[in-house]
Assembly symmetry: C2
Homo-oligomer: 411 residues x 2
């Protein structure tokens, strides 16, 4: 059962507030397993693997690693490379050259696919490996797992920001559109509704990318909500889109918006809202803050991210492979979970959107079931605000000597 | 000396994270002066004054007021009305009708001008009043005062966000442009440099609206910084503008950008940076978050805002009028200050930009003097992150009976 060698951990795709907790989980768990000689880290994900840019994470100062555990964004560096067949073969070559028997890939849908492809290749080679995917994505769109590390902190950032800008809009008696990340899945956008405690609280209207919005209803709902509350906050996913209708066909503005929708939803919607309610409509776009704004970190998220990293190592050392670690919810409040697994195939390149029954009938908000799902994940850390500004450590980066020739990727 | 009657407090212009602290300061100080019967609040600033929409703030629950003191944005409501002569006369009528002898106007440059005009009108009438301006603006562009309540919290938000998105850019080895509020004065943008502790830390390039940027130097500096640090973060004020040059004249892109500059600096600059460094350049715009994002509140800012509110009342009851309260710095670290005053005339409609000698020679950053000025103001509150999401009280709003006929404003 015991497979002796080195481990490799890599971070992939968009960073999150908690992805480093998973990496530190991998390192700290690996120290307890004698069969793992050291853990290498790939600098900039798949890019670092292909180019043999590896660092020795067992040589990092433990105090720095402890700091990195709470540092937002990917401390190893990340990239968005989708490996093709020659890349996968090169990766395997690199694994062999550096005696890498364990591979832990922290990433979302695309990355789990890469992970599976590497795993398949290894299985059909003479190089025995244990390969485990570690879930990560702010979009929360990996299937099977209850939720994805990275999501809850992004949700807390978005939901907090909605509460803040709502006060600004209310002070003016104006409107506001706030644009939330998520092109296909509206988990983060829906989670902003957790902050709506009273009816007059924001967000009044919530639009997920799972819904094609009826423009007439949109305008009517904006008018009604503004009239009722004296201000209006619309939370719109960046994947917001209007349904085709007579109006969208005939209106140049809505039409133009439909086309430009992925680059400036908030700005375009604000114009429409302004016309609808007859008051100024401001707009904000939280953009990359979702992935790094640690002031809004979720305590549950940090704990989950660390746990899935550790669990991946324990399972690999126990002989498991070709799996992704999942979160299994055991209790809502206080939130309790266990780490389970699913095959990499079952999650690779698959996307879980918000189920239709968790979106309200009018399709301008989420249901109580959604809130019951999301709220327990969004608990704060209780940590104090920093005395001045956030300061975080960086890895010391003890580089590993290269053993192979240069690799030129065919794009 | 003693002038018996009611007081009126109003909030004006863009909200800030700490403007409510000033309002609560006014109310709590007024309770100690027997000559003030009650403090009215104008709902939505000048709009509330003109339309007699007033609430009795002495009837508010003290526990709610204590909560409001730490609530971001303008709890009374605000507006951006610039009163004309008939409006000023109406305001005086309202003051007389409600026995208002004390007027405290919390606002920026424009508002201090309105305050001065009201004050002048009152001085030439038979209605004795004490009128004091309470400084407020995230832009920090009021002259004479060391700094303006509202600025330090906006600066903390921007400087924090720069540190966060920098980690995201560094993880990819990419570039990022972050757009900071400030069309004419670059105080908030400059303050983001407080977070640059090491040379490789962000922001690498900082552009204030006081500077017309040479496009060739801009591109050269982006290239150099990216090459040096392996990632690049540019902090640009929303008032960013290129100087006219052969290049800007001949390049459609830069030219187009020059014209559209007030609506999408970050997006337009990101395109230029992307071309310059040959890496993806992301962009974020902090927009209205500057005015309301309480997680980044500055402890000094909260203290100052409360103090200037209290001080305005004490001075008015002491017979002073036609003044704005100012902050006089007594010590840098720990920051200590006293409240002084200046005439409303001296600040009305005037703008203090960042002095040229506080901008570096290359005009792509601020000097050590700027940092020494800004840093002591940006201390955090040490408060804990909320367990779930920020929740804040609202005023109960005990409305005061109207005494005058309807007012129709001539626009």
């Amino acid at each position: 059962m015991s497979l002796k060698g080195n481990a490799l951990v890599a971070q992939s795709g968009g960073p999150t507030v908690v992805i480093n907790a998973s990496m530190v989980g991998v390192i700290q768990a690996a120290r307890k397993h004698a069969e793992i000689d050291t853990v290498y880290g790939a600098v900039h994900g798949m890019d670092g693997i292909l180019n043999e840019v590896l660092i020795d994470l067992f040589r990092e100062d433990p105090a720095i690693l402890q700091g990195i555990r709470h540092t937002p964004s990917a401390a190893l560096g990340t990239s968005r490379i989708k490996p093709k067949r020659p890349d996968l073969e090169r990766a395997l070559e690199v694994f062999k050259a550096h005696d890498i028997r364990y591979f832990f890939y922290i990433g979302g849908n695309d990355s789990q696919l890469s992970c599976h492809l590497v795993s398949e290749l290894a299985q059909h080679s003479d190089w025995e490996m244990r390969i485990i995917g570690v879930p990560k994505t702010i979009d929360n769109d990996l299937p099977i797992t209850d939720n994805c590390p990275g999501f809850a902190s992004a949700a807390r950032l978005a939901a907090s920001a909605v509460q803040f800008v709502a006060r600004d809009a209310e002070a003016f008696g104006d409107a506001e559109v706030i644009e939330i990340m998520g092109r296909h899945a509206g988990w983060v956008t829906g989670a902003t509704q957790v902050g709506r405690l009273e009816e007059r609280d924001a967000p009044h209207l919530v639009y997920l990318p799972e819904v094609k919005v009826n423009p007439e209803e949109f305008i009517a709902d904006c008018k009604e909500a503004y009239h009722k509350y004296g201000y209006l906050v619309v939370a719109a996913s960046e994947g917001f889109a209007f349904a085709e209708s007579e109006r969208t066909k005939s209106s140049a503005k809505v039409d133009e918006f439909g086309h430009a929708r992925l680059s400036g939803v908030a700005e375009a919607l604000a114009e429409i809202v302004e016309e609808a309610v007859g008051r100024r409509c401001r707009h904000d776009r939280l953009g990359n803050l979702h992935r790094c704004f640690s002031y809004a970190a979720s305590a549950v998220d940090l704990e989950e991210a660390y746990a899935v990293g550790r669990n991946a190592v324990d399972r690999a050392c126990n002989g498991e492979t070709d799996l992704m670690v999942t979160i299994q919810r055991k209790n809502d409040e206080p939130f309790e979970f266990e780490c389970e697994t699913t095959s990499l195939m079952s999650v690779a390149d698959k996307e879980r959107v918000v189920p239709a029954e968790w979106i309200n009938e009018r399709q301008n908000g989420v249901t109580e079931e959604f809130i019951r799902y999301a709220k327990p994940l969004m608990q704060g850390t209780g940590e104090s605000m920093p005395a001045l500004l956030p300061t975080y450590p960086r890895l010391q980066q003890h580089f590993v000597e290269k053993k192979l020739g240069q690799y030129v990727r065919v794009k």
